[in-house]
């Protein structure tokens, strides 16, 4: 496992240090980079993201993150999206009156959570789909969320011989997509790098799939 190399895409979004240190804590090499080739060559590619959907997309596109994700997924190379890094995998994101196109790996949109208290900030449980790999042994654990927007559903009418995405939901005011495992593409709306021991174990489980 120690030989695996992770790259975390640096496009000017938030605190990347914690994600890097979380992988290093697991004995995995992790670098923060915006280099195109390094991002393609790593064993695991992490797309982080905090803040607004639209500004994250501009940042991602500016360093060719859209191409990196496309190429990696076409080549069955693992990608992990975290928080807004998960949201941008959908077709579009609504924020106030603005609509921004996402990377479009999954159908559907990201919209404001309808809840009494927004942002959804804090620890919450998930309804873990039993087919999971990354939540193995963590089914009863809570994880740290910070977001106001979310995808409410992920319905993929793929060809019957295609892999169906494994979707894990959580509820804050309403049900939303909290994590997805879909072949080479994995994503979490919560921050595993901020979710204590459970979060570190989840990252370890993901690294084990590389």
């Amino acid at each position: 496992m120690a030989t695996k190399k992770i790259s975390i895409l640096d496009y000017g979004s938030g605190n990347l240090r914690s994600a890097q240190k979380a992988f290093q804590q697991l004995g995995v090499s992790a670098e923060i980079t915006s280099d195109y080739e390094d991002s393609l060559n790593s064993d695991g590619f992490v797309l982080p993201g905090v803040g607004a959907f639209g500004s994250c997309m501009s940042g991602i596109n500016a360093v060719r993150g859209n191409e990196i994700v496309d190429k990696r997924l076409a080549g069955n190379r693992k990608v992990l999206g975290i928080c807004v890094g998960m949201q941008v995998m959908f077709e579009k994101g609504f924020e106030n009156e603005n609509v921004s196109p996402g990377l479009g790996q999954w159908p559907g949109s990201v919209e404001l959570l309808e809840a009494q208290i927004v942002p959804h900030m804090g620890w919450n449980y998930l309804e873990v789909n039993p087919e999971t790999q990354i939540f193995k042994g963590l089914e009863d654990q809570s994880f740290y969320f910070v977001h106001s927007y979310a995808a409410k559903e992920l319905e993929m009418n793929t060809h019957e011989k295609f892999l169906k995405p494994i979707v894990h939901y959580a509820t804050h005011g309403e049900k939303f997509v909290a994590s997805v495992e879909n072949g080479p593409l994995t994503a979490t709306q919560f921050h595993p790098e901020k979710s204590g021991d459970a979060g570190l174990q989840l990252l370890k489980n993901w690294v084990a799939t590389l």
Binding site: G14, N15, R17, S18, K21, A22, Q25, V50, G51, A52, A115, Q116, I117, V118, P119, H120, M121, G122, W123, N124, Y125, S142, Y144, F145, V146, H147, S148, A170, T171, H172, G173, H191, E193, K194, S195, G196, D197, G199, L200
Partner: protein
Amino acid sequence: MTSLIRIIPCLDVDQGRVVKGVNFQNLKDAGDPVELAKNYAQNGADEITFLDISASRNDRKTMIEVIEKTADQVFVPLTVGGGVRSVSDVDTLLRAGADKVSVNTSALSNPSLINEIAAKFGSQVLVISIDAKRTNSEYAKSGFEITTHGGTKSAEVDAISWIKEAVDRGVGEILLNSMDRDGTKDGFDLELIELARQEVNVPIIASGGAGKLSDFAPAVKAGANALLAASIFHFAEISILEVKNQLRAEGIKTRL
């Protein structure tokens, strides 16, 4: 299911050291904020808050190193407050490894700072710290005013109106500190929490007055989403896990 009630220990840091004595057994260095944060994270803290009370620029550099070291070892959210005056201050703290930044007096004298920070980094990184105090003054219709300088000076602003304005401008969370209860151990100011809860829909962290186990649940029932305390945790009078057990006994869900 909604998010679990959070318990947050707060550490005051000056020149890289925790001030206000800390009385922990089994710690090599009880004045080291990194050691303490690590210890709290291992013992049930849902987040950690550092309040930088350093006065000089040089000490602020020390604080950045403390944040870096903490973020390298502690994998729960870290909020840092104290002396945040600009967008670039926020950038520096986030890059060092802070997840959230709290602003206080600087936002009061320059409210557009809130808009600027929220536009650049998103509301979720921005906590507004409110030092509220009861008053009969005319400018404070809610009965609570904003104070500065540790509660010794009045800003002559209504606390609840200011909270509302701060949320409208883009803060993602409120750290609501009762200066009347701060240090008294008489329990949280429930009326203050209720008034704030009626006005805004962002998470509220209640602070000031925690003294015994039974103080926590009423604050949650009044509308707090998180509870912050300093000395009772530092002096090991009450442990975070004991607080959580008590909350669960009263039907309030917590992590661990």
